[in-house]
Point group: C2
Chain length 262, copies 2
């Protein structure tokens, strides 16, 4: 919810529209997903739950909230409990938008009015979304861009421009507070220890949001789990499949996971 495709601030009518859309959590997403699968499709068991970034947060939420339903789990480039660093980062992303006078507490008429805030938001994403090495090696050239500015505008701004600012804020707030230990009174080891799924924890080696050591610390709390590090110079946004080797590695790991008894 809030992602611009499902129920979101920009497509909600009435008093909860736009700047008054309620806060939504990862747990709300997963509860709704489970209901959809069960009621609409009659699916009671999942062979594999996987996703990247906030999809990884949802994967962890699935495995902890519905341990009897999830046979295998593969959170990619994300954590079960968001870190304080990433919480702060979420703040600066959100403030880039809300500080634009055109934002008007969420009651702008169009993205045009928040253009400057959105441009700042896109640049903040670039600074940590990609690795330092991605920029140093000018890896954006392989994507067809001719300068850093060309990449920043043609890729980052172009990616976020069609997105509604309130939707972006809804997702950032949700990211900040992802935490499966909400089910266990703050005890992360208890939450992760309750997972029954065979789990591959798959951080990206150059990820500046979700360093391997953070993901490894969580993986070690999951009974039937392995750490599978994916290599990508892209860093977190290696999730965009910036190199052919990225998706090959993901396929390889997920294939092995699906072939394992669970």
């Amino acid at each position: 919810m809030g992602n611009g495709l499902s129920t979101s601030p920009h497509n909600t009518e009435g008093p909860f529209s736009r700047g008054r859309f309620p806060h939504v959590r990862i747990g709300d997403d997963v509860r709704a997903q489970e209901q959809l699968l069960r009621e609409q499709f009659g699916i009671e068991e999942l062979q594999l739950v996987t996703g990247g970034s906030m999809g990884a947060q949802q994967t962890y939420e699935w495995a902890v909230r519905f341990p009897e339903k999830v046979r295998r789990a593969a959170p990619i480039a994300g954590t079960a409990k968001n870190t304080p660093h990433d919480f702060l980062y979420g703040d600066i992303l959100m403030e880039a938008i809300t500080s634009d006078p055109g934002f008007q507490n969420g009651f702008y008429d169009s993205n045009e009015e928040v253009r400057e805030g959105l441009a700042r938001h896109a640049k903040i994403w670039a600074v940590m979304g990609f690795s330092t090495e991605f920029f140093k090696r000018e890896h954006w050239r392989t994507l067809g861009f001719t300068s850093l500015e060309d990449f920043q505008i043609g890729f980052m701004e172009a990616y976020f421009d069609p997105m509604d600012p309130n939707d972006l804020l809804c997702m950032a707030w949700k990211w900040q507070r992802g935490d499966v230990s909400r089910h266990t009174e703050g005890d992360l080891a208890a939450a992760l220890g309750s997972i029954r799924a065979k789990t591959f924890v798959m951080p990206i080696n150059e990820d500046m949001f979700f360093p391997v050591r953070d993901c490894k610390a969580e993986q070690e709390m999951i009974p039937n789990s392995e750490l599978r590090v994916v290599e990508s110079i892209g860093g977190h946004l290696g999730l965009f499949n910036l190199e052919p080797s990225y998706i090959e590695q993901v396929d390889q790991h997920l294939g092995e996971l699906l072939d394992s008894p669970a």
Copy 2:
């Protein structure tokens, strides 16, 4: 120059004051420092040039610009040529200030008018100035703060609040463009290869601006040099000496450097 103590936007009278202060480079600083030492103190040779962050940039500039004068050099937590990542980071720092309507192109009456932009600027500094681990382990507690917000306001905002916004912008612009290869038509290997000083390159292991690998790549281009990694959970702002072990390590390395023939 521009640091708020020496000639800076806020203390300059006339047409070049405040929002019209000229851009200043690391090379301008070092040229003036050399003149001061020579003309006022008669110093023609330096046993050791050292400094952290932009002080490291100045150290490299000294060693390349005046190779015959610098016998030993120890750049700490900084690079000889600024990276594209850090250039982008400089942009988002600067935009946090300039996007505040109270900034008025640099012709505000007091910091009060730019309070919101300064607060955003301070938070962006926190996000990469410290390591992810610094926040995860709540290392700010050892500095006497009781919550992350308490630290953010009581330390980061308090640190930057007395600084003039135009001065901060002057320094950020200078940081972005630090590059000793300006002396060698962009050939960094030629610039670093011309250094005669015995050099200890001293990155901080958790630094998110100046990763060890970036510093190591530069160190390998310096003829008479060693890589000496300093460990600090603080990351770049470990430069504030957040742990007793930080200054002990720096003292140890500088002591060895001063004891080496050069």
